[in-house]
Amino acid sequence: MDALPEFQVLHPTTVDEVVAARKEHPHSRMIGGGTDLLVNIRRGIEAPPVLIDTGDLQELKTVEATADSITVGASVRLTELAQHADVQAHYPVIAEAAESIAGPTHRNMGTVGGNICLDTRCIFYNQSEWWRTTNDDCLKTTGSMCHVAPKSDGVCFATFSGDLAPGFLLFDGEIDLIGPDGRRTVALQDFYTGYARQDGSTGDGKNYMAIQPGEMVLRVRGKNTPGLLTAYDKVRIRRSIEYPVAGCAVALKRDGDTLSDLRVAFTGTNPRPVRLDGTEALTGGPLTEETFTALDDLCKDQLMSMKTTFTPGHYRRRVATQMAKRLVQRLFDEGA
């Protein structure tokens, strides 16, 4: 019965207790549902000495979704988020994204906090210990080279694949954190730092979140804009259970025949979830071929899929772009 390395598990019942436990055990990790972390531990990717169970913190189990704003606690399970009537009514993109994650059993276990902080993924990383060792460990673990981009000089391109982040990015999401120095709020856009610039000036697939040692995610929030229509789409190899080949969240507003607001965000493409820059320039007129060509250009420019999955990077970028176009057309038609 020694499949796992030795670790101690703490089961605090309040956020204050978590903060204290994090202070006392600087190398501890939080475990929500464990559907990401325990897999990594089993594969010998990580071996934290202490796990802090944050999956049952009552304080962080609330969902508040009104026409104006949405706030979701880190310990909320994905099943609950997906089935929440107010989320379905006001934030369909978030309910649909939650429903698309893994399989039903995982959604009963997985938490929102774990999904927001999901580790980035790569075919050279999400493998058993013997596989990684045989194939010369890469730099996201103990090696010195990136096998996806051998010339990368220390930069990792592992892909962010959590499905909830794009939806929250559409609503200018914010994240509430608590740590040894108290509470702070960070824009979700700034929370994910995996720009993977070659000069190393930003985060990458290895350092993908602006979370400080000892901090934990309390809640994720978003602000609505009246009249926005939203939806989520995702392509995966097996439709019933799988990380995204690419995932796409779209919000738009139609006034008469005018596209008056357009927001697009992706997961499964870059080492960070991407809220597409420059979509405002596509608004103010009708939806035409030119709009789609311009959208295509934005995607080409900002989606940086590399060969971190079994499907080639250029294919994932095309899939992502195509999903965005289809969603834009569908929502625009629905807004008529």
Partner: protein, 171 residues
């Protein structure tokens, strides 16, 4: 590693035991208690063979630490047959040939049990979604859906019928 006491309800009875913090529920059930009906297969949360019910909800025992079920209600495949009689779900899998090699079957039965407790008239789509985290390499899934429909009919107190061909999945 030092063991700690852990108490939960197991198959309807209060259970007190001892386990190290790094013990998975799956290993605890199989190796600690000899309840080998729950299966180990992929070891990474991808196949559903280890599915058990925790507070009535299907969960993966291979990604659950024993300490995470303290005070909760755990049900395994061993809770299904009672008094020498198969449960409705087991009967469905037996009569409708929902099992071939049988490796995935305990997981399927527990996932189906979780579904049917809350919904005794599931559509084929609902059955498909509820079984979405389970993988079967023998049956081709159609027989499994038949089996769950059979069990649902038995639970509703109806005479189980022959079900028309299950439509192919869309998309």
């Amino acid at each position: 590693m030092a063991k700690k006491l852990v108490s939960f309800t197991l198959n309807g009875r209060a259970h007190d035991g001892a386990a190290a913090d790094n013990t998975l529920l799956l290993d605890y059930l199989r190796e600690g208690l000899g309840l080998t009906g729950t299966k180990t297969a992929c070891d990474g949360g991808e196949c559903g063979a280890c599915t058990v019910l925790v507070n009535g909800e299907p969960r993966l025992s291979c990604l659950t630490l024993v300490g995470q079920v303290a005070g909760k209600d755990v049900e395994t495949i061993e809770s299904q047959a009672k008094g020498g009689k198969l449960s409705p779900v087991q009967e469905g899998f037996h009569l409708k040939l929902g099992a071939q090699c049988g490796g995935c079957t305990p997981g399927y039965i527990m996932a189906a049990e979780g579904l049917l407790r809350g919904n005794q008239s599931p559509t084929v789509g609902e059955i498909r979604s509820a079984m979405g985290a389970n993988i079967c390499r023998c049956t081709g899934y159609v027989k499994i859906i038949d089996a769950v429909q059979h069990a649902a009919a038995v639970m509703r107190g109806e005479e189980p019928a022959d079900y028309p061909d299950v439509p192919a999945a869309q998309g």
